[in-house]
């Protein structure tokens, strides 16, 4: 148990009369990619928002390195080493790559009584970190809007890694991407995992999950349907669990097993 970076036990989250999460338990180890699968409305988003400090759980415990923690804000979670990369909110397209990369943590340089944004250092680090992830920028003051979707995800991921994330939560990073971009992002996840960071990969695409996942947890209607290790479970079984089993089996029959 002690090798878990973070462990969430029996998390419940109620929004008024709606029970969004009804006892979800997930743990993440260093250097593993834990895939969280679930169909729309399964509670994936609520769960990661609880994990990243946006929501406070109604019931349940969050343990980091075996000690119970309470996050009052996303800032708290970030300081504890939990970084979240949201699908559509990862980057601000109108701003430059450097400005995005350092947003919220700008390096400063003293000049008399004033403190200024240290662009020389910020640009250099940004270029180096981007190159490590295989993105060669034309210039660090290039606007993020000129990058592709996959590149934006990669900038967000390398930003999180650079700022010392221990747990990296990726919210559907591949769902809006093309084939080539998806494989780039999956390769980035692999690189991040090799650095010893625990990755939580949220997706509803079983193929993407199977490509990089070490463990798989399926959420359905606010509950965990269990966690499986890589090799113990087949893609079809994951797919069935996600959809709640029987209906999809029927559908799949009529579609010739192509989903």
């Amino acid at each position: 148990m002690s090798d878990n970076l973070i462990e969430l036990v029996d998390i419940e989250k109620h929004f008024g009369p709606v029970i969004a999460l009804n006892g979800v338990s997930v743990s993440v180890k260093a250097g593993e990619c834990h895939c969280l699968l679930g169909d729309n409305g399964a509670g994936k988003s609520t769960f990661i928002k609880t994990m990243s400090g946006v929501h406070k759980p109604t019931k349940g415990k969050i343990l980091m390195d075996g000690k119970e923690v309470n996050f009052n804000s996303p800032r708290d979670a970030m300081e504890a080493g939990i970084a979240t990369v949201y699908q559509d909110l990862a980057m601000i397209p109108l701003m430059s790559v450097t400005r995005n990369f350092w947003m919220g943590r700008e390096p400063q340089k003293r000049f008399g009584p004033f403190k200024f944004f240290d662009f020389a250092q910020a640009n250099e680090v940004t270029m180096t970190e981007m190159a490590k992830m295989g993105i060669h920028l034309r210039s660090p003051d290039q606007a993020v809007g000129t990058l592709s979707g996959g590149e934006r995800q990669t900038v967000a991921i390398s930003r999180a890694v650079f700022f010392g994330a221990k747990v990296l939560i990726l919210d559907e990073p591949t769902s809006a991407l093309g084939v080539r971009q998806t494989s780039n992002v999956l390769a980035t996840i692999d690189k991040v995992r090799q650095k010893g960071i625990g990755v939580v990969f949220i997706t509803h695409n079983v193929r993407h999950a199977m490509a990089v996942g070490d463990r798989f947890t399926v959420l359905n209607r606010g509950k965990t349907l269990g966690t499986a290790l890589r090799g113990d479970i087949k893609a079809e079984e994951l797919q069935d669990l996600m959809a709640g089993g029987q209906e999809l089996a029927e559908l799949e029959g009529s579609l010739g097993g192509t989903i």
């Binding site: 996303p74 949201y86 601000i92 397209p93 109108l94 919220g104 295989g134 060669h136 034309r138 000129t146």
Partner: protein
Amino acid sequence: MAETQSAAAPQKDERIREMSPMRKALIRPELGAICGTILVFMFFLGIASDSGMFSPEGIINWGTVSAQFAIIAVGACLLMIAGEFDLSVGSMIGFSGIIIALISVQWGYPVWVGILVAFAMALAIGALNGYLVVKTGLPSFIVTLAFLYILRGLTIFISIATTRKTIIGGVREVAEGDPIAWLFGGKVFSGLFVWLADLGIVGKFVAGPKAGQPVVEGIPMLMIWAVILIVFGHLLLTRTRFGNWIFAAGGDAQAARYVGVPVNRVKILMFMFTAFCATIFATCQVMEFGSAAADRGLLKEFEAIISVVIGGALLTGGYGSVVGAALGALIFGVVQQGLFFAGVESSLFRVFLGVILLLAVILNTYIRRMITGER
């Protein structure tokens, strides 16, 4: 997978064209405003160069008007980049002016007390504006539109209820020797202009009570304030951490919050800064005219916003430039006074302004797309 990745990521992307340094230097948010400024100056050099528009006193004339626009444009610019509007700027100008005149002339306190109270009230109202916008999530357009009416109404009411007039005069007399008032109404570098006049570069009055004195007394403090605010705003926006937060708050407030940017604080502070700029404008105007009137500052909010938009800022926030806004204000001032120098019918000013606004915005949209990859 790692190997395929490194093979698939060549040093240079063949689909990104190299940009020439010339093109790179040109493609900036202020380009539209720079072109506009050059065009406007060329136009007036052509039609009004013999009218005294470009003599020292002519320059002070349109320079002062431009500086007025610039002071409120800097505030509006930073606020717009932070993603919000303030339509109560004009009413704020009238309100602050009346407060200063009431306290100093009507109630007999020193002028500096009036100025400080006006600034304190303006900052409080700015903060209230910002707080309401941030807490209710309503568009700032609506919230500040409400304040446009509330403040204007209050200003007229207070003024009539206490003095039975909407204009309060006599401020200049009570401001004599005041420790703060000269910061807004004074003129600096008058020695320089005496010297220039002795050299014959600046003309002298030949008759009247001021005979022998240079026609330009000095640089009005209004211009000094404009320069200070432009430099401050530009450095704050482009060179500091807080500047990055301003861009982030306007670019995508939610994304900024997720990485820990205190978006609400940034927005409230920018509303306060806009109110602060409006009060600087009001104080300078009260000191210059020696009076305050409840209807001062009418339509100033739109003039500020137009300057900012000519300067290349995006109406929806997250993009813009203080230097651009300052150039927008310069264009505004030069056109307004230049048409007067050129002897053109003054109603044509609005036609001219509308045309410039349209051209600048079209050019700006094109430039912004090139920079940000927007589609």
